[in-house]
């Protein structure tokens, strides 16, 4: 027997607050320096939109730790998406590759939520057209699971086991006025890539 409560969507509840996010970024920055042995050839590339804000914070933290300037860029993966034909054409964001390029460097892609892996797949395709990095690593604030491609993150802020019925919202002060990660129920059909053709409009605050 189903209780009436199972049909009522659970309101979003906070799993990370501003202090948590700040701690997570500091930890990831230290991990990068440790794994990249001083981060000498690291290039940070933030994936639009919230990945860019996170990359900026990570960049500031890395400079603080290493005392060295680390190249920072932004990447728009719109033209490489595999769902372009399923939605209206979207406006492009600004792609900025640091002056030194990415050839032979260790590129660290930064995004807010790792979900199906399709965004990262598109980002890898975009990188292939821009240059040939020595290696590519991935840093994400939240890994919520449900991968549809063989992709994993190298640096994870928080592993957040979710169901497909749930939505993860990342809010960052730069874009949304406050720092928080929220999880709550939502209509599964609206966001799942299995149901991308559905004519519902996605909530822009829900990542991936």
């Amino acid at each position: 027997m189903t209780t009436p409560q199972t049909d009522i969507p659970r309101p979003p509840h906070q799993v990370l607050d501003g202090a948590d996010i700040s701690r997570v970024i500091t930890r990831i920055a230290h991990e990068i320096v440790e794994r990249a042995k001083g981060a000498e050839d690291v290039v940070l590339l933030g994936i639009h939109t919230r990945g860019v804000h996170l990359a900026r914070r990570l960049h500031a933290k890395l400079i603080q730790i290493t005392g060295r300037e680390i190249p920072l860029g932004t990447l728009d993966i719109t033209m490489y998406r595999d769902d372009l034909r399923l939605k209206p054409a979207r406006a492009l964001e600004h792609t900025e590759i640091p002056a030194g390029g990415i050839d032979g460097r260790l590129v660290i892609l930064v995004d807010d939520v790792l979900f199906s892996g399709r965004t990262v797949r598109a980002a890898l395709d975009a990188l292939g057209d821009i240059g040939r990095p020595r290696a590519v690593q991935l840093a994400v604030l939240v890994d919520r699971g449900h991968r549809e491609l063989p992709i994993r993150a190298d640096y994870v802020g928080k592993n957040l086991p979710t169901s497909l019925r749930e939505a993860v919202q990342v809010r960052l002060a730069d874009a949304d006025g406050q720092d928080a990660v929220l999880v709550g129920d939502r209509d599964y059909a609206a966001r799942s890539s299995q149901a991308l053709a559905a004519p519902t409009s996605p909530d822009p605050q829900i990542s991936e």
Partner: protein, 329 residues
């Protein structure tokens, strides 16, 4: 945005700015080693040119190839059109071949509009110049060039800028598209030409008209030269080339009267010595070559925005596209 781009008047201010901003982002591509995006992979674009054109056709072709579209060049000369095939039958043939977009250049004003309004083709129709009517992608690339020099930055328009269009307005499709688009973007346009080279009804265009180039120079932010289209001139529109050159040609003296920040634009091909002196054409203030580069990114932006997303039908029917049997009927 509408499904077709037939006239600059089809574009709202938001549409025009979206195209310009997208073009600005796509312009970065030309600096890369791999100048290609996978966006239109598997889409077929037909360049249907009923009239000779080198730079517009090449520009479209480069734009289409950079977006990975399959490109078919359909020149009317030497094709079945010269055997008497109608526009409708050509369109039905292209539809049967699965064209997702048709870029059309036609000597008859209104041919792209006819194609867009008909149900012969289900793909997008992009006007690459029709008779003496319109050339909207040229107007967009001109607007991109002007914005770069006069009001750089994404999302910016040309509000309050004063643009002077000089020359053969009568035969120019570039002039009409530019007047319409520049008005949408907030600029004030003045058309300067001899009375014989102004079209009937220019009074209804959203621009001022003048016969005196020198009087307009001091308050011009961008001076747009037009080509004198000798091939369209079937009568004497001005006494001599020398006289035209003296009154409406651009030379060093006239350039000195322009404000410091003003640019001189030319859609090409330039007729040096008559419309424009070599001194002006080769000066850093002349943007003719820059306009060519901007043409590729503007056309990429238009193709991406019309074709890059989901396929929508304008009509009441929302049925998915299928191979039509029209061609067989």
């Amino acid at each position: 945005m509408k499904r077709h781009l037939v006239s600059a008047a089809d574009l709202s201010r938001d549409d025009a700015l979206l195209i310009l901003d997208t073009a600005e982002e796509l312009a970065q591509l030309s600096g890369r080693a791999v100048k290609k995006l996978p966006t239109l992979r598997g889409r077929t674009v037909v360049n249907l040119f009923f009239e000779d054109s080198t730079r517009t056709k090449t520009s479209f072709e480069v734009a289409e190839k950079r977006l990975s579209a399959d490109v078919i060049n359909f020149a009317a000369k030497g094709s079945s059109v010269s055997k008497g095939e109608s526009l409708k039958d050509t369109a039905l043939t292209l539809q049967a071949m699965g064209a997702d977009a048709v870029v059309i250049r036609h000597h008859a004003s209104g041919a792209p509009a006819r194609l867009a309004q008909s149900d012969w083709l289900h793909g997008s129709v992009i006007n690459a110049g029709d008779g003496t009517h319109e050339h909207p992608t040229q107007a967009l690339l001109d607007a991109l060039t002007m914005r770069r020099h006069l009001n750089p930055g994404l999302g910016n328009d040309l509000n309050g800028r004063r643009i002077t269009i000089v020359g053969d307005v009568l035969h120019s499709r570039v002039a009409r598209s530019n007047v319409l688009l520049l008005q949408t973007l907030g600029a004030q346009v003045t058309c300067v030409a001899p009375p014989t080279l102004l079209p009937v009804g220019i009074g209804s265009w959203p621009c001022e008209v003048s016969y005196d180039l020198d009087a307009s120079l001091a308050k011009t932010d961008a001076l747009m030269m037009l080509r004198v289209q000798r091939e369209r001139m079937n009568a004497a529109f001005f006494p001599t080339e020398r006289e035209y050159s003296r009154r409406y040609g651009m030379n060093g003296q006239r350039m000195a009267k322009l404000p410091e920040h003003a640019i001189v634009m030319h859609p090409g091909p330039m007729v040096r010595g008559m419309e424009i002196t070599a001194e002006v054409a080769d000066s850093p203030r002349c943007t003719a070559v820059e306009q060519v580069a901007n043409g590729v990114s503007t056309r990429m932006a238009v193709l991406y925005l019309l074709l890059g997303g989901a396929v929508f039908n304008d009509g009441p029917s929302d049925a998915p596209r299928t191979e039509t049997s029209e061609a067989a009927q």
